[in-house]
């Protein structure tokens, strides 16, 4: 497909388990972003990649959160020892470059529920 894809679309897990969320950006897009969307909280920036490196990890809420990107393409966001407050929609976006004026193209999100 031509757009950003994310998997799984929904994930239910038990508190304390680890989860991996996947993002496939648009082909040729060098920048990739992860956001968290909670009810009434807008979009919370987590991390962004330029190529395979992450110049800005400032939004990761704790050391339980990590992300990697390989081959300048697919990215995985990992949450270890999940907590109930991690429940949210996790959005991925990509853009052609990381320039400040670039349009970001968003995936449909992964809805995470931690019981």
């Amino acid at each position: 497909g031509a757009g950003v894809s994310q998997s799984p679309s929904n994930k239910v897990t038990e508190k304390g388990k680890d989860v991996e969320l996947r993002c496939d950006p648009i082909s040729g897009h060098t920048a990739l972003y992860w956001y968290r969307q909670s009810l009434g909280q807008g979009l919370e920036f987590l991390i962004y990649f330029q190529g395979n490196s992450a110049p800005d990890k400032s939004g990761l809420p704790s050391d339980r959160f990590s992300a990697e990107r390989t081959g300048g393409s697919v990215s995985t966001l990992t949450i270890q020892r999940t907590q109930q407050e991690d429940s949210a929609v996790y959005l991925c976006a990509s853009s052609f470059g990381a320039g400040a004026g670039e349009t970001q193209y968003f995936g449909p999100g992964t809805r995470l529920l931690v019981l």
Binding site: V4, Y33, Y35, G40, Q41, G42, L43, F45, Y48, Q50, P55, D56, G59, L91, A93, G97, A98, G99, A100, G101, T103, Q104, Y105, F106, G107, P108, G109
Partner: protein, 114 residues
Amino acid sequence: AQSVTQLDSQVPVFEEAPVELRCNYSSSVSVYLFWYVQYPNQGLQLLLKYLSGSTLVKGINGFEAEFNKSQTSFHLRKPSVHISDTAEYFCAVSRWNRDDKIIFGKGTRLHILP
């Protein structure tokens, strides 16, 4: 650091009436400004953006926004709304000419009343 404030969390409007969604930003440097829209059960998509030049920016679906530097605002307007405009609207800002993240506001939910 820059920040974005969307003053209204929800805005109810009658169909075919005009609407304005307010956005104010704070930044010590020049910025780019964006409005994104999220329709029910869909991902976010760009509505319009201001990079430079004319302060009145036209976007998709009949929306427009005006950059006002003195008031640090970027309000979104539409002269006549339709049921299909029901969505959540996010204002966003990024620092000019920097490889940097975009900061989003908390969103405004637009309810169109029949």
